[in-house]
């Protein structure tokens, strides 16, 4: 969706937006200028630029989002260990403070850029753009962006990623999709992480989590996964491979 051709005007909101609608106000002596731009226009513009940058180098960008401590970094570590060697990975880490997560990734011999946001509760497209200056994309196939742990703010900011993966860890409870619908609606894949805890935390019902996701009309596939006992890893790795292939095909078609 863009801000210039009017495609952000939908059947559902056009009566409110079009001239004569209740949002079109003019007062004598003053000039009313209709703008119809997303409030995140500047961010979205940079995000699109980032996406083009990824596409030029055939790189798949995956944005990982979750609350703090849901296991994003552990998932990345397990992924690095198990993913095929011919899929080359780089990681952009977002945290308010510390290089801890980037250091964890680097220990596995993988390129990691740490963004420390200070007090900002999310990554935005400009921060990713800056980070990309430090990555030679020609050397990679997949860039994982580990967003700041937060189920609210990161949902609003497009970074230029191709896929959003949202983690819901078992200790958080199965009703998170109902509590944070904006975040879970962005998900292209939902991961129920720390699934090894399901037998212990038996008030978490996977079926319930799925039902809450259906309530927000999410069509995202759901994978139960434990980075600890590695169950569910094959499904996740397959999903990554499929996305890499899809990306390649998509780009080949757009070149033709």
């Amino acid at each position: 969706m863009c801000d210039t051709c009017g495609c952000n005007i939908t059947h559902g909101n056009e009566n409110l937006i079009r001239p004569g609608g209740k949002l079109e106000k003019t007062e004598s002596g003053k000039e009313a200028v209709t703008v119809l731009h997303s409030l995140l226009h500047e961010n979205d513009h940079t995000a699109q630029h980032n996406r083009e940058h990824f596409d030029q180098h055939n790189v798949l960008a995956i944005n990982l989002m979750s609350s703090p401590g849901a296991g994003k970094t552990s998932l990345l570590e397990a992924t690095i260990q198990q993913l095929d060697d011919n899929i080359r990975i780089a990681v952009i880490e977002g945290d308010l403070e510390t290089e801890n997560d980037a250091e964890r990734i680097r220990k596995h011999g993988v390129k990691a850029i740490q963004i420390t946001t200070g007090s900002a509760c999310h990554l935005d497209a400009h921060m990713i753009h800056q980070a990309l200056h430090n990555i030679n994309l020609a050397e990679f196939d997949v860039v994982f962006i580990e967003n700041v742990g937060n189920l609210v703010c990161p949902a609003s900011f497009d970074l230029g990623q191709h896929q959003n993966v949202v983690l819901l860890s078992v200790p958080e409870g199965d009703d998170k999709p109902a509590k944070y619908p904006v975040m879970f609606r962005t998900a292209d894949l939902v991961m129920i992480s720390k699934s090894d805890l399901l037998p212990v935390l038996d008030d978490f019902k996977v079926a319930k989590a799925k039902s809450y996701l259906r309530d927000i009309a999410s069509v995202a596939p759901i994978i139960e996964l434990s980075s600890k006992d590695k169950s569910g890893m094959p499904l996740w790795l397959d999903w990554i491979r499929q996305q890499v292939e899809k990306r390649k095909k998509h780009l080949e078609q757009s070149v033709d």
């Binding site: 939908t10 007062e27 200028v33």
Partner: protein
């Protein structure tokens, strides 16, 4: 609290509109926000005086229009109002719906006061 950074981006856009139109002052701003946009109207209002201080939009009235959450059923085709965490079809109950409205986060319009032409007397 990402509303402050969204508000700062809003001020940037308003400033460039005012500049294009050679306006002296922005008197009001209308934004449309849906419940699924991820932005809280109240927080945006609180952030506004901070983000607009010293700009052409300082003291402008911020009008926020809340847009309803509406879905269209992919199965039976009917349209209905919905809750942000219950986007199912009201008629047939199916969960496979498409959002018609409710995730907007848009700067709709700005009201400007233009510079009065003044004659220079030598």
């Amino acid at each position: 609290m990402h509303e402050l950074s969204i508000c700062q981006s809003l001020i940037k856009q308003i400033t460039s509109v005012a500049l294009e139109c050679s306006a002296q002052r922005v008197t009001s701003i209308t934004v449309a926000i849906g419940a699924l946009s991820g932005v809280e109207a109240e927080l945006l209002k609180n952030a506004y005086p901070i983000a607009s201080a010293g700009t052409v939009a300082e003291n402008a009235e911020l009008i926020i229009e809340a847009l309803p959450v509406r879905v269209k059923c992919n199965q039976c085709g009917s349209e209905s109002d919905a809750l942000p965490n219950k986007l199912v079809c009201k008629k047939c109950g199916d969960w496979r719906t498409t959002l018609l409205s409710g995730d907007e986060l848009m700067l709709m319009s700005v009201e400007l006061e233009k510079i009065q032409e003044t004659k220079v007397i030598h």
